[in-house]
């Protein structure tokens, strides 16, 4: 039953195989940080995964599966109903609570600065919890490269991340914090 649920949000392995590109054709951004101490310092915010023991296809499957958990919805209120056989798709009407000044702040210019950071942190946490038990470690990336790896066409960015994840061991030190 749970597999049905997961399958509803993920590509099937067979379908994913059919659409996977030849890694030789995948162009990846420059993730070197040797001359970029700020990128090293911000590695806990902007990173990519690498695992020395996976192939491109294995990395692609892992990243696709873990990124399927990034789909977000309205807060899961309790008590509530979950059909279990398929995920509930509720739009985010208002992600943050209406509590007077706080709510006004979140709708303000301050909010527009904070919310993307908050969303990035939530997404990073989900990816870390899913990827790290699979043997992946984090390595720092310049923010511009991180943007390229995380924003845009989903299959394309999964392919880029998979090529990095299964490629040569990064020169930079792992992100550990």
């Amino acid at each position: 039953m749970a597999a049905m649920l997961a399958g509803a949000l993920m590509s099937t392995p067979a379908a994913a195989q059919d659409t996977r590109p030849d890694p030789a054709t995948v162009v990846i951004p420059d993730v070197s940080v040797e001359q970029n101490p700020k990128a090293v310092e911000d590695g806990f915010k902007f990173f990519y995964f690498h695992n020395p023991s996976v192939s491109f296809n294995e990395a692609y499957a892992d990243i696709a599966e873990c990124r399927s958990f990034l789909i977000s919805g309205a807060p899961a209120a309790i008590p509530g109903f979950r059909p279990w056989v398929e995920p509930v798709r509720n739009e985010v009407q208002r992600q943050y609570p209406g509590v007077g000044l706080l709510d006004m702040a979140m709708r303000s210019a301050v909010g527009s600065i904070i919310l993307p950071k908050l969303e990035r942190g939530v997404r990073n946490n989900k990816l870390r919890r899913c990827m790290e038990p699979r043997g992946y470690a984090r390595y720092p990336a310049p923010e511009t490269a991180w943007d390229t790896l995380n924003e845009g066409d989903e299959p394309a960015l999964i392919a880029m991340q998979a090529k990095l994840a299964s490629g040569p061991r990064p020169v930079a030190a792992q992100v550990t914090e």
């Binding site: 599966e65 873990c66 609570p97």
Partner: protein, 272 residues
């Protein structure tokens, strides 16, 4: 300062929603019943008592709905979708109209996901005892809640389920939960996941120690019909409304993990 604000907002975002705890037909007993209702199931478990600030960290259960319940939900969603279709088409302005699978639907029917209020215990202590009356059925340890009004962390990366039959107490053993970005004083958790996991939100973890003959049972319940839960592993599932995801800590002989795969250790096979 910003981090504190973000944490407060994140926590509140997870609890924004329903005004009451508890699922339909779910009652936490604060004293021992003299007899069991033959039409009801009863869940007995011990629980750790960790808090986040002033808010209790609570366990979230999902009862797997019956085919009839799913059919009612689907019919309600279909009716709402058809009623909203003109608005959806107008909003799409000639573009793609959401399919029914993409349609945002708030269901007002009976709930099957609920948290157990940490204050509604039958016996106090370092490990509190809870006796929860609930519909008979199959239950999933679904996740953890801060405050009990929203799912804060789902066990989307692996958990267990069990059957609760009517007319008897199903003994679950001991449940533990806490924040797990750093080392927790609560035992049995997979913790110390890294301090930066706490920068932009909570990540909570849950653990289960199944019952055995030494698991304490409140004396007032000792004479009532009781059976130990039989747990089996549950594979990945999605809860888009949970701000964080985690997995139930491994349980020897029951729940294991091999990279991302959930393994049913009773069979050695990946869990469904």
């Amino acid at each position: 300062m910003i981090r504190s604000l973000l944490l407060a907002l994140f926590m509140l975002s997870a609890v924004n929603g329903a005004a009451a705890k508890g699922g339909d037909g779910v009652v936490s007993h604060k004293s021992a019943p003299t007899a069991l209702d033959p039409g009801k199931a009863y869940l007995l478990f011990r629980s750790s008592t960790a808090k986040s600030g002033m808010m209790n960290i609570e366990h979230v259960f999902l009862r797997i709905p019956t085919d009839a319940e799913i059919a009612v939900w689907k019919a309600a969603r279909q009716a709402a979708y058809e009623a909203d279709l003109p608005k959806l088409q107008k909003k799409a302005k000639g573009g793609p109209v959401p399919t029914i699978g993409e349609y945002s639907f708030d269901y007002a029917g009976p709930g099957n996901v609920f948290a157990i209020d940490a204050g509604d215990f039958i016996e106090d202590g370092e490990m509190r005892q809870f006796l929860v009356e609930a519909p008979a059925g199959n239950y999933v340890l679904y996740g953890i809640s801060v405050g009990g009004r929203g799912v804060s962390t789902c066990n989307c990366l692996g958990t267990v389920k069990f059957a609760a039959t009517a007319g008897t107490i199903t003994q679950l053993g001991s449940l533990y939960a806490d924040k797990v970005h750093k080392e927790s004083p609560i035992p049995n958790l997979e913790d110390n996941l890294g301090p930066s996991m706490f920068n932009y939100g909570f990540i909570l973890g849950q653990a289960l120690v199944p019952p055995d003959e030494t698991t304490p049972v409140p004396a007032a319940l000792a004479a009532l019909p009781r059976q130990q839960a039989a747990f089996s592993a549950v594979g990945l599932f999605h809860e888009p409304g949970a701000p964080s995801i985690n997995r139930l800590a491994p349980i020897p002989g029951i729940l294991g993990y091999d990279r991302g795969k959930v393994i049913d250790l009773r069979t050695g096979q990946p869990a469904n």
